[in-house]
């Protein structure tokens, strides 16, 4: 219980620190959202609009930094993130809600798949050390995971999308289709997600394979594994229940963190595939000095990572009693 309270306390302090940094950093950027909007619409709106935009965005209202900080904290607690300046006058919550499912679906599923497949391959590779799998997989995936997402994405678009014509090349679904809860539309979404998901999957899998394999090699040499063998347990049982379970522990936190970062989307993949997720939204928010949207997104990412780490800590303490001792 004390362990839990301490973890929870740490979570709250980290959250407060992150929120404060989140408040301050955007305000240190040069310029303001009205000027950014003028730049974005350069040549297409009357320069006299600068005044109107400043009024609309509430710039130069002479609110002190301290009072706006407390207003911000209060709004965060009430999950009131204000109005997006990029998509003015849409509420930030609405803008995020529209993009969130796409990132969760695409990046979330491919991250989990990447972890599961990578871990399994890594475990098997270590189990049969020096075998075919072990000599081929790690070097191949080290090379592939060194590729930037977007480069692989462009290659896939060119080969599978344009040359072979197997997959659509852009969007979360056929851009002119009307979203509906029909099988046809769901298939449309899956069809559009295959290429981007595959891109994320094969670039992320390598890391998991390598760390799992290395952990496994240490664990397999432990006495209790030898003991298991001596007892005549089935190799499969030793592999997954004795060695695998313990080798997985150090990877859990890493996995939790990567799950937390699912919220931030995959900026370059979303950009290359024209995918309507959060990553590109974040980039846009920063470019256009959309403070409310930026703050909400950063907060969301921070909370997701902190919560994921918190859960991973709890899970580790359940799986491994040693982490619970205080000394």
């Amino acid at each position: 219980m004390r362990f839990l309270a301490r973890r929870l306390g740490f979570l709250l302090i980290a959250l407060w620190a992150a929120m404060t940094v989140n408040f301050l950093i955007p305000r240190l950027m040069p310029g303001n959202p009205a000027e950014a909007m003028m730049g974005r619409l350069r040549g297409h709106i009357n320069p006299a609009s600068l005044k109107a935009l400043e009024v609309a965005f509430g710039i130069n209202t002479h609110q002190s930094l301290i009072s706006s900080y407390f207003a911000y904290l209060n709004n965060c607690v009430h999950l009131n993130f204000g109005i997006s300046l990029l998509d003015f006058p849409e509420p930030v919550s609405h803008v995020i809600a529209q993009a969130l499912p796409w990132s969760l679906g695409l990046v979330g599923v491919s991250t989990i798949l990447g972890f599961l497949i990578g871990t399994m391959l890594g475990a098997v590779a270590a189990w049969r050390r020096g075998g075919a799998l072990d000599s081929v997989l790690p070097p191949v995936f080290i090379v592939i995971s060194a590729f930037p997402y977007f480069f692989l994405g462009l290659l896939f678009i060119w080969f599978f999308g344009l040359t072979l014509g197997w997959f659509p090349i852009l969007g979360g679904y056929t851009e002119t289709a009307t979203p509906s809860l029909t099988l046809g539309f769901i298939w449309n979404i899956i069809d559009h997600s295959i290429l981007p998901a595959f891109t994320i999957l094969i670039t992320s899998i390598g890391g998991w394979i390598l760390t799992m394999r290395n952990n496994m090699i240490t664990v397999v040499a432990e006495d209790y594994v030898k003991m298991g063998r001596a007892k005549g347990l089935k190799p499969r049982r030793i592999l997954w229940q004795y060695a695998g379970r313990n080798a997985l522990l150090p990877n859990l936190t890493g996995f939790a963190m990567s799950l937390g970062f699912v919220i931030s989307g995959a900026i370059l993949v979303e950009y290359v595939f024209n995918y309507p997720g959060l990553g590109f939204l974040l980039l846009q928010a920063v470019e256009n000095e959309d403070f409310p949207l930026m703050q909400a997104l950063f907060l969301l990412i921070t909370v997701a990572v902190l919560v994921a780490i918190f859960i991973a800590d709890i899970a580790t303490s359940l799986l491994d009693p040693r982490t619970r001792t205080t000394s």
């Binding site: 350069r42 040549g43 297409h44 709106i45 320069p47 006058p89 290659l155 852009l170 002119t176």
Partner: protein
């Protein structure tokens, strides 16, 4: 927003390779059986689905198509006025009162009749909420009142003839019976817009906006094209690909190598880039070497604008004139005496002699200096626009040949804008909005009241030009409807542009426009420039889609 690739060289090269293969997209037929017209307009973001016509960005999704204006003023035909929601207008009271006669028989798409009361309501809404008044019409208006059943009277605090363009062409009219119930018109999103236009909103998702024809539109028989789609594109490459593979017949894109990438792909593909404003070098007139007119003159003579256009812009943006008048769009305004004064434009020998006469000495490294200080300038430009950065690299090479050292600083877009607005630059490469005659751009450039002190943002006049004589000329233009007087004023302003070089126009900013004339007829063209074609030009593109007819 100009559409340029930001992914970088590798990405664009790959996309070019990729583009050589064409993939068919299934065409989805609309409810009427007619194939929808897909519009290709990359804005680098997903659609907000907020249809406030008084929002600088959202306006392009509703003004012209859903909401209409009192008149249509065409920048490409010397401010030609086409009656729209108003059937007539008249100036009176020393050009301080403007009276519109409002069209009868027009209905909002919810069936309520449109009336003069809606017009008066709309303008008074802008007065109540300055955040909606994008064109600052209330900086010159004193009152807007309905008069009789079908007239609306605009009283100006001073004669402001050029404001006709903003009042009549740039303010969309909204329905009083709906907007009067909106609690906060600035921040409440308009999800279901009701207008008088040829189109109604059918659906909006972040990925696509779909419009359908208004069956009761007041222009009988129009629109012919029943369904419009505008998919959202995050990058220039994907949008260009969509156009090149034939999924769209109407685009507003910057496309490198347009002839092989787009025109050659399909019969009927074509493009037209009408110039509308100037992309110019804005010299800081308050401090540094550019405060000296001789330096500005040397820069202007040192620029081979034709080469910049060819190398930096694939020749899409034609070379500009130091007179500031965009040709051929406004060639009727071009002053022959100012053009003669400007000479042949590119004249490196003259650039060098001007600097020498000003006391500059050529150093052993080939660069001029004066009082021990080298003539070295930094030009800031929008680093997100790869073509602008390329233009400036050419400029840097050209000016090095006349002894002026120029360093190019391609900053991030928002930093760049902030620096330009606040006057924090030696030279800035940027574009003004302009308007339906050269006056608008010249007023944006030269009117001292548009400017501000260095360090505070100036909406326009970024170079901080200030001349009581020029202010007087601009005010005089605003008080006359006489074409002869207006021309003589613009002539004088052109001479000032050539003699004082407050701004150095380099290239002419164009509207990006691609079409397929085998699928649709009626697109605007150089011979019939009835509206600006860019899908971000409002209300113009709403006028363009009313002219289109499917050929198949």
């Amino acid at each position: 927003m100009r559409r340029k690739s930001r992914v970088g060289l590798l990405a664009s090269t790959l996309a070019l390779v990729a583009s050589t293969c064409v993939m068919g997209m299934p065409a989805i037929a609309g409810a009427s059986g007619q194939t929808p017209l897909n519009l290709d307009n990359e804005q680098g973001e997903l659609w907000p689905c907020a249809f406030t016509p008084f929002n600088g960005f959202d306006a392009m999704f509703s003004v012209g198509t859903i909401y209409e204006t009192l008149d249509f003023v065409n920048a490409l035909q010397n401010s030609k006025v086409t009656p729209w929601l108003a059937t007539a207008y008249a100036w009176s009271n020393n050009n301080k009162t403007l009276t519109f006669t409002i069209r009868s028989g027009v209905k909002w798409t919810d069936g309520t009749p449109f009336s003069a009361a809606d017009v008066a309501y709309t303008f008074n809404l802008l007065k109540k909420y300055p955040a909606l008044d994008l064109n600052a019409v209330w900086s010159v208006l004193s009152s807007v009142k309905q008069s009789g059943s079908n007239k609306v009277v605009f009283d100006f605090s001073k004669s402001a003839v050029p404001y006709f363009y903003y009042v009549a062409d740039q303010v969309p009219i909204v329905p009083e019976h709906i907007w009067s119930k909106i609690k906060n018109p600035v921040t409440d999103p308009i999800a279901k817009p009701v207008g008088t236009g040829g189109y109604e909103l059918a659906s909006c998702t972040p990925q696509n906006i779909k419009w359908t024809a208004n069956p009761n539109y007041w222009q009988k028989g129009l629109p012919v094209v029943k369904t419009l789609n505008m998919p959202a594109f995050l990058s220039n490459n994907t949008a260009n690909e969509y156009l090149a593979q034939g999924s769209s017949a109407y685009g507003a894109q910057f496309i490198p190598n347009i002839k092989s990438y787009f025109v050659a792909k399909k019969a009927g593909n074509g493009y037209w880039f009408p110039p509308v404003a100037n992309v110019s070098l804005f010299p800081n007139l308050k401090s540094g070497p550019t405060a000296d007119v001789a330096v500005r003159e040397a820069i202007s003579y040192g620029l081979n604008r034709a080469a910049i256009s060819k190398i930096g812009e694939y020749g899409y943006e034609p070379p500009a004139s130091q007179t500031g008048v965009v040709a051929p769009t406004f060639k009727a305004w071009s002053s022959s005496s100012a053009t003669a004064l400007a000479g042949k434009g590119y004249d490196p020998a003259k650039a060098i002699s001007v600097l020498k006469a000003d006391g500059y000495k050529m150093g052993s490294d080939g660069f001029f200096s004066k009082n021990g200080k080298e003539l070295s300038l930094t030009v800031i430009t929008n680093g997100g626009y790869s073509d602008w950065v390329a233009d400036m690299q050419v400029v840097s090479q050209q000016l090095a040949k006349v002894g002026i050292k120029v360093t190019v600083d391609g900053a991030a877009a928002s930093n760049f804008t902030t620096d330009v607005l606040n006057g924090q630059f030696q030279l800035a490469y940027d574009v003004e909005t302009g308007g339906p005659s050269p006056f608008y751009e010249m007023r944006q450039w030269l009117y001292s009241k548009n400017s501000a002190a260095i360090g505070s943002p100036a909406p326009s006049n970024w170079e901080r030009f200030s001349s009581p004589a020029v202010d007087a000329l601009l005010n005089q233009y605003g008080s006359t409807t006489s074409s002869a007087t207006q021309h003589s004023i613009i002539d004088k302003l052109q001479t000032i542009m050539v003699q004082q070089l407050p701004v150095i126009p380099v290239l002419e900013e164009v509207d990006w426009f691609q079409y397929n004339s085998d699928e649709y007829s009626g697109f605007p063209s150089a011979t019939n420039p009835y509206a600006q074609p860019g899908l971000y030009n409002v209300p113009d593109w709403g006028v363009v889609v009313l002219h289109l007819k499917p050929k198949k």
